[in-house]
């Protein structure tokens, strides 16, 4: 098999390919991310950024205590984030555990939100500690239940111990299950990869294996989507496009709670990967609390004052 003509699926070709990646200087990457965080986004550009960010949210609930009722409420909110203002765009997707996929899909269809995809966290999320058989079945179940996007986790243990081919083959196998039926997002769990060199290497590994999106984190491990990590991943998709003419998406998730955080992410995208990535098909933000802050800032921009949190729905 050929993966973009860059590796042939063998251990040695994968190793050679990843070895050629330039290093990441942590101090320099942090400095660049910090500089971009000083961008001042005001007035019209802020209004645009808020709506764009809303359209990119993967509205997420990943709790053991999730109930069908909570998931249905989340779906309603995803489709009409502000029931009093229909100009607010719907979010990018609803992201839930496997067993909630059917409930979410059914509810979205019933409220006329057929175009809003359901994303399922799969492959023994969040730890990825299960047999291959279980992971494949987990993915298949989610797709059958109506998931159009699969958020899989990589085996960090294998990656960190240098068994890169195992991680690669696992992604390839899940990719095969997804086929044309579902988009594949690969969660690197950068908080466990620790170094930016690892983030770059894992990003390429996932892209080569067939990821449609690379995603920072499960949201269960801190630190999650830090600016330097997102910067390095955006550089990776930009450079991968130069090599292959294929655009891979990026999804930061975890720790992005405020409008300010979200706008900083958009600035990173704009000045690193470029404006082509400022699109829900290529950039998503995995979040739950963020949406309400975006809505409150949106109201503030139109009304001129901060409303009480009682004016946005809690779910």
């Amino acid at each position: 098999m050929s993966f973009y003509g860059l590796v042939d699926g063998s251990d040695s070709s994968l190793r050679n390919c990843l070895k050629q990646l330039p290093g990441v200087d942590q101090v320099g990457a942090e400095a660049r991310a910090a500089m971009l965080a000083t961008r001042s986004i005001k007035t019209t550009s802020k209004a645009w950024a808020i709506d764009t960010a809303i359209s990119m949210v993967d509205l997420t609930t990943l709790e053991g205590a999730d109930t069908p009722g909570k998931v249905q409420a989340l779906c309603s909110k995803a489709f009409r984030p502000d029931p009093t203002d229909l100009a607010v765009p719907h979010v990018g997707a609803v992201c839930v555990y496997n067993d909630m996929v059917g409930i979410a899909r059914e509810h979205l269809d019933s409220i006329g939100a057929q175009e809003l995809p359901v994303a399922a966290v799969s492959t023994a999320f969040p730890s990825g500690r299960a047999s291959m058989q279980v992971k494949l079945q987990d993915t298949e179940d989610a797709i059958v239940a109506g998931a159009a996007e699969i958020d899989m986790v990589i085996d960090r243990g294998a990656f960190l111990s240098g068994r890169l081919i195992e991680v690669f083959e696992e992604i390839v196998a899940i990719r095969e299950v997804c086929g044309d039926r579902a988009h594949l997002k690969v969660i690197l769990e950068t908080g466990e990869l620790v170094t930016l060199d690892n983030v770059r290497k894992a990003s390429y590994l996932a892209m080569l294996a067939g990821a449609d999106f690379i995603k920072t984190s499960t949201g269960k491990v801190a630190p999650a989507a830090t600016a330097p990590v997102v910067l390095v991943m955006l550089e990776a998709v930009r450079d991968f496009y130069d090599l292959t003419k294929v655009r891979i998406g990026v999804k930061p998730a975890g720790g992005i709670r405020t409008t300010k955080d979200a706008i900083k992410q958009l600035v990173l995208v704009n000045e690193t990967a470029g404006p082509e990535w400022l699109n829900p098909s290529l950039f998503r933000i995995g979040a739950s609390a963020l949406l309400n802050d975006l809505l409150m800032q949106r109201m503030k921009m139109s009304d001129g004052y901060y409303a009480s949190p009682n004016y946005v729905t809690i779910d």
Binding site: P22, G23, D25, V27, R32, K42, A49
Partner: protein, 478 residues
């Protein structure tokens, strides 16, 4: 989708600019006899009328400084001097926004840089030297701990307030009094600093500020009542000053021009290297004596680095310096713009490949698009002369020895940069390079604790750190 950043200008209401300024002599404002205009280089708007210091003005300032040295400043303990310096540093921090906006208006540099670099660093220099004032015996300097007396200081227009801090803070910490002349085009923050001296209750005459042009500077250099000259500026003027003081008892430190080599080895972390190249040459419009103005790339990665560099350069936001999102502001003066144009025209005439970004520049004011020249050889003027603008000359090398040879093949020796992921490579290269400041995997990083200065025609002496103290102290301790 296009993410346009709406204008985000810093308000200029925080600064109050007088229509006319005099000199600050003996703690008072003294009217000048002649004046010249100071303009905002981004708009060509006249900001104020600045006094042109005459020989008589300089003489009055020197007398005031001598009097202050004899009667008050030299009588104070180090601890008392330190208290004044701490006070000045704190006031500078409190009035940071005022300083930043004024610097940007007068100099043309982006508010992001004056706010995040110039002003905080200037305050840091005062804090750092305030700490030394009562500890000179323990600084390990090879001089005595006796001050010279009256020092004459002439500073450039590229970092007006920061260069003032580099000069004034160590002079006062070591017990000297000061006659300072800011650059002709950028006097305003020095005049605001005079107000800070008043606010801090600094004894009259300890800091005197005489504004003016080259003739005023010459009057300072040639004044017999001055014990030491400290100059930052062009090598050309530095040589004139060295000649002028050669037959006198004056001490002299010079911080002059540069043609910094930024060497990129094949194993460098490319994305961060590209950031470092941009920071090295486009920081402060390239108006930086230690700018990394010669990029020396290893052949094996030259194409990749240049491609990424051009893409990154296209993101540089050129325009209103007061806009918080501006990366590259205005060229400081029409004269400097003419000099940049002359040298870049020479680069084209000599056959180097020119590439500039497609940025839209304002109609008024002095602007120059970020530019690189490829295919530059050692024989080109743009590889030898200091352009002092946003213009990068790119050369390539094959072996590390060739990189060093090219880097050192210049009359200057102020700064150099090395980009490599290999520690041994960095250590080897730093030993070979003839430059006073060498950065590894970073560029244009400044800190008051770190001595700064040049080899060869880039200057004499060091500023900052413990080494910088000795320049303001007399003789040898042995």
């Amino acid at each position: 989708m296009n993410f346009e950043y709406a204008a985000a200008p810093e308000s200029r209401s925080v600064v109050k600019i007088d229509p006319v300024y005099g000199h600050f002599i003996n703690g008072k404002w003294v009217n000048g006899s002649a004046h010249f205009n100071s303009i905002n280089p981004a708009t060509e708007e006249v900001l104020s009328s600045i006094a042109l210091g005459s020989t008589a003005d300089v003489d009055a300032a020197v007398k005031a400084a001598r009097n202050a040295f004899d009667k008050s400043w030299s009588k104070l303990s180090g601890r008392e001097r330190g208290k004044y310096l701490f006070r000045i540093a704190r006031i500078m921090q409190e009035r940071a926004r005022e300083f930043a906006v004024l610097e940007t208006l007068d100099n043309g540099k982006p508010i992001r840089e004056s706010r995040d670099v110039d002003v905080p660093l200037a305050a840091a220099h005062f804090f750092y030297h305030a700490g030394w004032a009562d500890k000179l015996e323990y600084a390990g300097v090879e001089t005595t701990t006796t001050p010279h007396g009256v020092v004459g200081q002439i500073i450039p227009w590229n970092f007006p307030l920061l260069m003032l801090a580099w000069k004034v803070a160590p002079a006062l910490a070591t017990g000297n009094t000061v006659v300072l002349k800011p650059a002709e085009t950028t006097s305003l923050t020095a005049l605001l600093f005079a107000q800070v001296c008043q606010q801090a209750g600094l004894p009259d005459g300890v800091v005197n500020i005489v504004t003016g042009d080259g003739s005023t500077g010459s009057a300072i250099v040639n004044h017999p009542g001055i014990d030491k000259i400290a100059f930052t500026g062009s090598t050309e003027v530095g040589k004139l000053i060295a000649r002028a003081v050669a037959s006198t008892n004056k001490s002299l430190t010079l911080e002059l021009g540069g043609k910094g080599a930024n060497i990129v080895f094949g194993d460098a972390a490319i994305d961060e290297t590209v950031e470092g190249i941009v920071n090295g040459i486009f920081f402060n419009q390239g108006h930086v004596c230690c700018a990394g103005s010669r990029l020396i790339l290893q052949e094996s990665i030259a194409d990749e680095v240049l491609e990424k560099l051009k893409r990154r350069m296209d993101k540089i936001r050129v325009g209103d310096p007061l806009d918080k999102n501006t990366d590259l502001g205005a060229i400081n003066s029409a004269e400097q713009l003419a000099k940049i144009r002359e040298l870049t025209a020479a680069g084209e005439a000599e056959g180097a490949g020119r590439w500039s970004t497609n940025c839209v520049m304002p109609d008024k004011g002095f602007w120059f698009a970020p530019t690189i020249f490829t295919g530059v050889t050692q024989a080109h003027r743009i590889a030898r002369e200091e352009i002092f603008g946003p213009v990068l000359s790119v050369l390539t090398f094959r072996t590390p020895a060739e990189a060093i040879e090219k880097a050192n093949n210049t009359p200057f020796g102020l700064s150099a940069g090395i980009w490599s992921e290999k520690g041994s490579n960095i250590l080897w290269a730093t030993q070979q390079l003839r430059a006073g400041v060498i950065w590894a995997n970073t560029f244009n990083k400044f800190d008051p604790t770190s001595p700064f200065g040049g080899y060869k025609e880039s200057g004499w002496g060091r500023e900052g750190g413990r080494h910088g103290l000795s320049a303001y102290l007399k003789g040898s301790a042995k």
